[in-house]
Symmetry: D3
Subunit: 238 residues, 6 copies
């Protein structure tokens, strides 16, 4: 088996994390997993949704979108269609949950961080790149709150990153790009923390169901990829 990109089965695409990509947001990160490019901005708002008001706790949430021509053929603009697809909603809920797993919401105080993940160019793995970049954007936003004296301690307890794994032509491979993703029997997204805790596991058999042994192989591969991504996150923030 050889991967379309000629990568080895356990090899990530080239990952780049560019901080301060735009200038208005409290955290602004362009994350690239090969040709997949996602702009992740973290916006701090000094209020919380109504269900948290007066509880002394903060909130972290995410929204996700794809530019209409981030993809091979143009997709209809969700704002023009007047609704977000089920896929969009699934992804933004996943990003939000993943971030909340590593933010101490009590330590954040009554404020909300909204992370917008907008896909500039898509080549598979937009949700995993989003989570990985969003965590750095949140890091930068909360660091700014600490620097501005609004927070005494950093509420980010750990790093969180995400990667896809799948069984491509019978072989477990790491970090699927679009050609692999389109031709894959089993596809799994794994979200883990810097200390190795599992936050989310979402595996789907596209065709034939997969076995427990395959699942184990994919989890091992994913854990390895996440460790590398967390190393890159730490390196990006110096």
């Amino acid at each position: 088996m050889s991967r379309p990109s000629s990568r080895s089965p356990d090899q990530l695409r080239e990952v780049k994390i560019t901080r301060n990509y735009t200038r208005h947001a409290e955290g602004s990160v362009l994350v690239e997993f090969g040709d997949t490019k996602v702009l992740c901005t973290a916006s701090v708002e000094e209020s919380v949704p109504s269900f948290l008001r007066g509880k002394g706790e903060g909130w972290v949430t995410a929204e996700y979108g794809m530019l209409p021509r981030s993809t091979h053929t143009r997709m209809a603009r969700e704002a023009a269609k007047g609704k977000q697809s089920g896929r969009t909603q699934e992804i933004q809920r996943l990003i939000g949950r993943s971030l909340r797993a590593v933010v101490d919401l009590k330590a954040l105080g009554e404020r909300q961080i909204t992370v917008d993940c907008d896909v500039i160019q898509a080549d598979g793995g937009t949700r995993t790149a989003s989570i990985t970049g969003a965590c750095v954007a949140v890091h930068d936003a909360v660091s700014k709150l600490v620097a501005d004296g609004k927070l005494a301690a950093n509420p980010l307890r750990d790093w969180v990153a995400a990667i896809s794994v799948g069984i491509y032509k019978g072989v477990p491979v790491l970090d699927l790009d679009y050609p692999e993703d389109s031709d894959c029997d089993t596809d799994m997204n794994i979200v883990m923390t810097g200390s190795g805790g599992i936050v989310e596991v979402q595996g789907t058999a596209e065709g034939t169901p997969f076995s427990r042994a395959e699942l184990d192989a994919l989890l091992a591969l994913g854990g390895q990829g996440i460790a590398e991504l967390v190393r890159l996150q730490k390196q990006a923030v110096g």
Copy 2:
């Protein structure tokens, strides 16, 4: 640790599968997992969505809804709000994918089966009950197609069922009811076939991330529960 329902950690709630619950649908099943009751109807339509037209293949899809007062406090009616929540869309996409994993779409021919899963009463696990009941409704609908001479062979290749597992007060438990679900560190939904293949695994750390060992324990427990559910599905259809 004792479960609120006094069940042992590996014990399912009482499961009931009532076929022909309503009279218009080609398949109509009331599935009960304890106090969770979902009506699953399978409707056959002699046409397919436009992306499949002329390809000689069928389609299986699902829609999900909760009656406004199926829950402890009344939820707003989605039809009145004018949109389905992200949660609703996630669940109905999951049900559809799970069913398609066991239906031979080519053997189904150019027709669509729409399964409606409507929650009459909710006490945790509505999505797993829905998948388990929906599979029986699809069975009945395709059996009718065979009986009516519209299909030569049964396109249902295997059974598919689903169960939730979670870590409740530190102990892995099977088939979470609402009180457990609300107070659970880790929550996983597992969808498997009668022959033991994994179709979907979706695990989420609600608070602290979970470890690989915990994941393994949950998968084992889930596999056991699915085996029992498939036995009950087979028993229900005689």
Copy 3:
């Protein structure tokens, strides 16, 4: 003339009223008029809509929906379409008005009762079954308020029930089922109280207009049916 169901012209279908059908709602009634089955739940909320705030009065309102496959062929789900049909809105407004005619809103105090009428199976007469069942659900909900010491006196002043009448093959008949309803010249829904007051009369000529004499015959037939329904409501609550 013989009715498709072989009933005599002034004969109701078999009516069943099952209380406490689901366990979360303050009132939960499954009402059956033959093959028409509607689940009516009454939910009490300790607040009122903004137009009544601070006036010391309560409110009773209703929502109506049909499960997609409650009907002969599957109807599109209103939540998925993103709006309720004109028919749905007409019916839920009618149910709300009918209930308010027998509830003393001042005696109810500043709280709202929302009755959800969800059609599980349809065979004609879903709106009349809904009103008839909803009144029992409201009865149970207000009885609970009295039992809980939240209300000193019962604000339900009378019973209210509804029935359809129509001219089928030239003969006035009571309680139309679906085959009659589809093939009927004139169709009338009558809502009356236990003491014989008229709350709503809605008569429509589907084809040829009807005469005053026909209207009189239908009103007589309807009054008779309502009396029987109120007897059954009283019997259901013991």
Copy 4:
């Protein structure tokens, strides 16, 4: 009892029917019931809705709207809110059914007439004025089809008009204006043909239920008003 307008109980407001009020529509009628003014335009389209295609039959439908400041205080514009209220939908369905009761849809051929009833100024009775004016607009539109040689015979079989009646301070009165409508125990809208057939009867008890005797009195009063309205319709078309 004296009516706010000093009319006798069986007296209509001054009714004016102005044809050719605007110049683009095939039928364009301004109808005035006292201070209630509704513009009714009938538009002919040489096609039918899909459920009628190829059946050789036509269709008549109606849409209704109120200008935002047709009322005492400004109402939100439905186009800006993004949906039509339940009341609007009820009224436009009623107007459509009333017109179809007097149009021979087979004789109309495969074309659709859409009547738009837009309320310029409201003072009670907008739906009854709409039906009464819409019938004249349809008359003019079908006369034009006959004059243009598109139809051999006039498909309008009879006139149809509508009036409200109610019990105001204990007395049955004809043609309620806004002050009466707001302070009325029972409110009924009656739609009848020129030959005295009943098309629709919709009576509602706003407070206390009404008796059969009251219903009879209202029906008698309404029949009288309709006869006068049909006389005015005939006079308007010469």
Copy 5:
């Protein structure tokens, strides 16, 4: 070149301004530019949008709509479609900005004037007629506030009117009607005050771009038309 209407190039259509056209609104004006007829009502509300609350300033806004059959062929009703077109939104934003240019919002105090411009009959120039009529409606509404003692001084600082100009068959012409508008190379809407200040200029080349010299000719023609319209506004209010 001769215009379809036989007007000279610098000739307005006959303009009529009828005040108090309907009776509920604080200002109600029917404005006619030839066959274009727009009802402009000004409604005063004793509150302001949230972005102005507590600032001691008022607001003037506008909404615009066309009756479905104001046009040659029937347009779909925006309330039924569930959204306002881009064109509608552009026009209502333009009307609002134009009116705010001549109202002293501080002098108006914390109240809002909403002007509804509803097109009864369209023959080109509905937005310019709307602005011209709306200004008179606002005049009447603020005069009423002064007369009622709610305002000490009149907050209307100047008149504002609008006219279209265009290049039709190579010749600059004033006040385009529908046949000219449909067959015009360049189309410009000009909004000016009574004292000759320019409030808005919106020029669009429909086909070939236009030159600076053409622009100058159109501006001169427009200024002339506006002066005449302001004279008619003043004459209308006596």
Copy 6:
């Protein structure tokens, strides 16, 4: 007067045009006017909207959006709100009209070019940057059609660019940035072709109306800016 950016009144911000910014679109241009950055992608589709089908003509249209945190404070995502604002619709209609002014739609053949202008970072002038960048994206897309042999000749007849001008502290200035735009009496957007034809002029008095002399000064300034932008467009494509 000194501009916040220290530019001279007739000085553009630094303008950068980066072609092939993303890899899927037929034309992909990042245009920067100082801190304003807009990604313009041109997508070619081998079909036309239904109103053009079978006429042998093509179409060019545009969609516009702002990333939620392209602005100083986060804006709500239009896809999440379920509708595009009036401002968004105005801008995308303007971009589309501007592009159609320089594309020979007959020469384009029955295909559509959709240009998406997505604002990555906003600092005033997003619509003028969009038009300027979009023209280059269209250039690249049609060049590709010619290179691929799908078109014999280039249907782009001229360049089109746009710039804002305004009166800032009494002085006419070119290319407003956000601080100027927020504090400006008069604001005008000018769209012109490479050969100096005017395509659109949209001038608005934010406060005091402006005079004809001011308008002339702004038009002169704008013409100068456009000439420079067209020089940069030509330079960008070599």
